[in-house]
């Protein structure tokens, strides 16, 4: 994969002005926000959308004959179509709003896997999954007697694709893959891996965790060939509490509902209840209406700037940052796959990530320290934790310089 390019030069300072939170100081220093993998910051237009919704548009959806309710419903369903367009899904009924990626995966695990898998069936995961793409499947295995198979990865953080091919078998029912690793930054070849699974058996369900990927590169679920794709709004400059599950209509149609309640029904009597059509069959109760509408505004914003433009700038920044960090004495970058985006995990010899993080905070720098909800990755690499900086398109070279200077300070403290 070649590095994305953009022309003309990316005007990062202009885009930064859209993000009010980036203006603040922390401990007297300008905030340097490098924890975008945990959550992204929000542009004014998304904040204004939320405010406008509650000031002038708020009503429950799908229920009222009055104007306000119809307007709220239209705004909510428009957001769904925006998500469809963003993912290049074929139909809007293939877009289910959830609380986030975690809930999306749990939906598939409970509604599909628990009803289809039997003892001895196999679920393939990779060794670099986030807990949200491990635990739901472990719960499926406990309920059904299915077993997990794990694709190993190299010390550099690249999947062993030969091992993956070995693991694919007649018993494989589900393959669940992370698109971009939040701990290592590795980009996995989802299209290729999906193709190989479906070539062996078109009935294999492939789910991709796109939480980290979607803010950084374009997503086309039809081109990828996946059966399910999940992402979270709050990682792509949208509000928290909203996410999207894309699922093939043919699959979603056959799946029983995930949660029961209002809105997901067609009719209810105590004797018999019938369910609503897609996608509402999977959206029980009053949803996060403002969240969905806010997500729609975020996706518009991303489209306005252009993901390719953002990606090209981020790539430039990642290359710059990697080069500078490698020169810091005693610093080792964890996760050096050939194809990476956004994430730089690192360790400094003799200094615990926790201490690095605390001292960096004193310099106004926000990074994450810990296992990043990927304890298996840490165990595999025999490390307790890493310091993780994760970039977004509004980060600058100056911020990278500040990070490097602060790391030198950390080393000074511990000398």
């Amino acid at each position: 994969m070649t590095a994305p390019t953009s022309s003309p030069p990316f005007n990062v300072k202009l885009w930064r002005e859209d993000f009010p939170i980036l203006r603040q100081t922390v401990h007297g220093k300008p905030l340097v926000y490098l924890d975008n993998a945990a959550t992204s910051q929000k542009p004014q237009v998304v904040i204004d959308t939320l405010r406008r919704y509650y000031e002038g548009q708020n009503a429950n959806i799908h229920r009222g004959v009055y104007t306000l309710s119809q307007q709220a419903t239209e705004a909510y369903e428009t957001a769904r179509r925006k998500a469809q367009h963003f993912l290049h899904a074929g139909e809007s009924r293939e877009i289910v709003f959830t609380r986030g990626t975690t809930e999306a995966i749990n939906l598939v695990a409970q509604s599909y896997a628990c009803n289809h898998l039997r003892a001895g069936d196999e679920i393939i995961l990779t060794g670099m999954e986030h807990h949200s793409n491990i635990v739901p499947w472990q719960m499926v295995c406990q309920r059904t007697g299915a077993v997990l198979k794990v694709v190993p990865f190299t010390d550099e953080g690249e999947l062993d694709l030969a091992a993956y091919r070995q693991l694919l078998s007649a018993k494989t029912k589900i393959v669940a893959l992370v698109h971009l690793s939040n701990a290592l930054g590795t980009i996995n070849p989802i299209k290729q891996m999906t193709h190989e699974a479906h070539q062996l058996n078109p009935q294999i369900i492939v789910l991709a965790d796109g939480a980290q990927w979607v803010p950084h590169r374009a997503t086309d679920v039809q081109d990828l060939g996946v059966d399910f794709y999940a992402f979270s709004g709050h990682k792509i400059f949208g509000p928290t509490g909203i996410g999207v599950l894309y699922g093939r209509a043919t699959l979603l149609e056959k799946m029983p509902p995930y949660q029961g309640g209002g809105d997901m029904i067609a009719s209810v009597t105590f004797e018999k209840t019938t369910y609503n059509e897609l996608p509402w069959k999977f959206e029980a109760g009053t949803p996060n209406i403002s969240g969905a509408i806010g997500l729609g505004a975020a996706l518009d914003y991303v489209e306005h700037i252009g993901l390719d433009n953002m990606a090209a700038w981020e790539h430039e920044l990642l290359t710059y940052a990697t080069g500078k960090l490698q020169q810091v004495p005693g610093l080792r970058i964890v996760g050096t796959a050939r194809e990476k985006a956004s994430v730089i995990s690192m360790l400094i010899e003799g200094i615990h990530p926790h201490d690095v993080g605390t001292i960096l905070d004193g310099e106004g720098i926000a990074v994450r320290t810990g296992h990043h909800c990927c304890q298996p990755i840490m165990d595999r690499l025999h490390i307790p934790a890493t310091v993780r900086a994760s970039l977004a398109f509004y980060n600058t070279r100056e911020e990278i310089d500040a990070l490097v200077a602060a790391l030198h300070k950390v080393i000074e403290v511990f000398r």
Binding site: H354, D355, T358, H371, M378, F414
Partner: protein, 151 residues
């Protein structure tokens, strides 16, 4: 900034780089494991306690500077004390490190060197690092099995 200087001050860094009593204890009378999984601090405390007196405490494990220094300082502070004195000392230590931030910790001569960890109160997220060794030691006294965590 000065709070960071208070947190990472000389004594703490010294105990991190040259921890005291980080050795295997032969024939301990009790031991326990402590683990803050979320941040990566792991500790094993072993102690020799006879007739209610703590003859020796050692620790093993890996963790951040605060967790390591706290364990090291603890092992020094506990040696020769009675179990009751140890529990009272823990209470004072706990009060100091969990006291309200932006208020200077009151002087407590009983604490001795443990007072150097008072700066942790400005960093609530790190309090669990400072208290892990103590909670693990108290679990060892009760001969509790299974993992202690301060998370």
């Amino acid at each position: 900034m000065s709070e960071l200087r208070d947190l990472y001050q000389e004594v703490i860094l010294d105990h991190y780089k040259r921890p005291r009593n980080r050795v295997v204890l032969q024939d301990p009378t009790c031991s326990a494991d402590g683990h803050n999984r979320l941040c990566g601090d792991q500790i094993h405390i072993s102690a020799k306690v006879h007739d209610g007196r703590i003859e020796e405490v050692t620790f093993q494990g890996s963790g951040c500077a605060i967790a390591t220094a706290s364990a090291s300082l603890m092992t020094e502070a506990l040696k020769g004390r009675t179990v009751e004195e140890a529990q009272a000392l823990f209470q004072r230590f706990h009060d100091v490190v969990t006291g309200p931030p932006h208020q200077a910790a009151p002087d407590d001569p009983e604490l001795g060197k443990l007072a150097v960890l008072a700066g942790v109160r400005e960093f609530p997220v790190r309090v669990k690092c400072a208290t892990l060794a103590w909670h693990t030691f108290l679990a060892a006294l009760k001969n509790e099995h299974g993992n202690v965590s301060t998370e």
